[in-house]
């Protein structure tokens, strides 16, 4: 398999529908593409899932949960359903298991499955609801769904996720994805993203999961991203041996290009990255992203565009380099954390307390907040300061202090690069314009 580490086939336990859908696509050499999608209204949600399944692409579906349900405020979600107020996702607890089962059961099979995406630091209620509805896959993690999205102390999140993993693992074939490779969406250097994803995978394994995916979000530099995805596979091969595992790439999660051409360029770039690195699954973004919450049609168009772009690079190999030292950095972080304590949950909690893990720009009270990152002249992500992490920083020249406008520039770096490229190419359509069918 040249430089690519093959996903593990060592698992003897039968896979559930979600893991099986991804494995089947892998055998066919195809990238699985997946949207973010959540509507409170059941007929609209049903229409969305049907459209995803029918798309001209190898797809799995998504139920994205609304933010009331995510924080456990099911009462507000119920009231919104009764009053017909807009919600930003599917309230799986408020709708109840019968409604969700009725929504999804007819769609499952023929290589199609549905993952529940939520963002909760304490997801027990959501996990129970998805299991009761006959679903088998979700995502998150004790760090990745705590630090960026909640006020929950890490030790409470670790405890809640330990119980969550046990509950999920009690049902054979269930699959859990670590969101650790997506911290804050942008400006987190790849070494730390890879380390967090691997560490959460080890945590899931400790609590009984036998089918796991590790994530990584596309950042600012193609070669650095290739390094990161290959590092993730190498470390997964070492730490998740004997389990079913795969890698999931997220199309750039930061501020998105405003032009349709720029947005599609970035989407295709992520599909190329997935195809070259043997990544099995990818979560897409749409050209509507910079302007509004995407419609069903926006999502279908993005899925088909990504799938076609990936197919064009199938079988090709990436340029393998160690220019950015991502594997070394990730390995140093993983090993430093695992040395702290044999229990991965306690090791993670203590690592953040000591600043051995320190996520840049993360406001959570349990994050040391002594690390800072920046985008260098090559367009790659680098450390400005690393605090107490066991990895070196490369101070940005002439940038002792980071200002609000510097931050804005870095947050919109990718947006501006891809918009500029699209404008130069003569594509000046705005993402709000109607998309081609």
């Amino acid at each position: 398999m040249s430089a690519l580490t093959a996903a593990s086939t060592g698992s003897t336990a039968p896979l559930g529908p979600f893991a099986e859908a991804v494995a089947a696509a892998g055998r066919a050499g195809e990238l699985v593409v997946q949207p973010r999608m959540g509507f409170a209204d059941v007929p609209r949600m049903r229409q969305g899932l049907h459209a995803v399944k029918a798309a001209r692409a190898r797809t799995v579906g998504t139920l994205t949960i609304d933010s009331y349900t995510r924080v456990g405020d099911n009462e507000s979600a119920r009231r919104a359903l009764i009053e017909g107020t807009d919600l930003n996702g599917y309230p799986i607890v408020a709708h109840g298991p019968a409604t969700t089962r009725d929504l999804t059961s007819a769609l499952m099979g023929d290589g199609f499955a549905v993952q529940v995406r939520h963002g909760s630091a304490n997801p027990i209620g959501i996990i129970q609801a998805l299991l009761d509805a006959g679903l088998d896959a979700t995502e998150g993690g004790p760090i990745s769904y705590c630090l960026p999205y909640s006020r929950t102390p890490i030790r409470h999140s670790v405890e809640a996720w330990a119980r969550t993993c046990e509950l999920l693992a009690s049902r054979p074939g269930t699959h859990l994805e670590s969101f650790g490779g997506c911290m804050l969406g942008q400006l987190c250097p790849p070494g730390l993203l890879v380390a967090l994803s691997v560490l959460e995978g080890i945590f899931f394994k400790q609590y009984g999961l036998r089918s796991i995916s590790l994530s990584y979000a596309q950042q600012t530099h193609h070669v650095q991203d290739v390094e990161a995805l290959l590092a993730l596979r190498t470390l997964a091969g070492e730490h998740l041996a004997g389990l079913d595992w795969h890698v999931v790439l997220y199309t750039y999660m930061g501020v998105f290009p405003r032009t349709t051409g720029g947005a599609l360029g970035l989407l295709r770039d992520s599909a190329r990255l997935a195809a070259l690195t043997g990544t099995e699954r990818m979560i897409v973004k749409t050209p509507a992203e910079a302007h509004r919450i995407p419609t069903i049609e926006d999502n279908i168009h993005a899925l088909e565009e990504a799938s076609a772009a990936a197919a064009a690079y199938r079988g090709q190999s990436p340029v393998v380099s160690d220019e950015f030292g991502v594997l070394g950095e990730a390995r140093a972080l993983v090993e430093a954390v695992l040395e702290i304590h044999p229990d991965t949950g306690r090791a993670l909690t203590e690592a953040f307390r000591r600043g051995i893990l320190d996520v840049p720009y993360c406001l959570h009270a349990d994050n040391a907040q002594r690390s800072r990152s920046y985008i260098d002249g090559r367009g790659s992500l680098q450390w400005h300061t690393t605090g107490s992490m066991p990895i070196p920083a490369l101070l940005a020249p002439g940038r002792a202090q980071l200002r609000a406008d510097d931050l804005l520039g870095m947050l919109s770096y990718t947006q501006e690069s891809f918009d500029r490229a699209a404008l130069v190419a003569g594509d000046q359509r705005d993402g709000t314009a109607a998309l081609p069918a």
């Binding site: 909640s150 509004r292 993360c362 406001l363 609000a404």
Partner: protein, 137 residues
């Protein structure tokens, strides 16, 4: 600085903190997903000159209106200066302005969508909010 109860986004908060600090203000960043009770508690504890609520998840108008009504029910916080800004509804700019209903609910100013940042800078520059020594450029 604070978000509202259901909003987990933080880049808006990191940016506004850096902006406010550059303009010479001392910032306490309460962070994302702030329950109404915590916001009230922090206002009492910190006694700030200005409370900046920022939200971008689309529930800001709903959550912000509820939070400010609860805050204004507190005798001691009735005159506290509180402003809100960001992407406040799920339908984006097309939905028109949430300003009037949020002002009626008790906010002192509303800064909607991307254009709101420039308005907010002007508002800060023109306000009689005491600043520390401006930070060195």
């Amino acid at each position: 600085m604070s978000s509202v109860s259901s909003d987990s986004h933080t880049w808006n908060l990191v940016f506004l903190q850096l902006l406010l600090e550059e303009m010479g203000h001392e910032v306490i960043n309460v962070g994302s997903c702030v329950p109404d009770e915590l916001l009230i508690e922090e206002c009492r504890r910190v006694q700030p000159d200005l409370v900046v609520v920022s939200s971008v998840n689309g529930h800001g108008a709903l959550d912000g209106a509820r939070a400010i009504r609860r805050l204004r029910e507190q005798q001691d916080l009735r005159d506290l200066r509180v402003v809100i800004g960001g992407k406040l509804g799920v339908r984006g700019a097309e939905a028109g302005t949430y300003g009037p209903e949020l002002m009626a609910a008790g906010f002192d100013a509303v800064f909607e969508d991307a254009a709101g940042v420039a308005e907010f800078r002007r508002y800060l520059a023109q306000s009689a909010i005491p600043a520390l020594e401006p930070s060195a450029a």
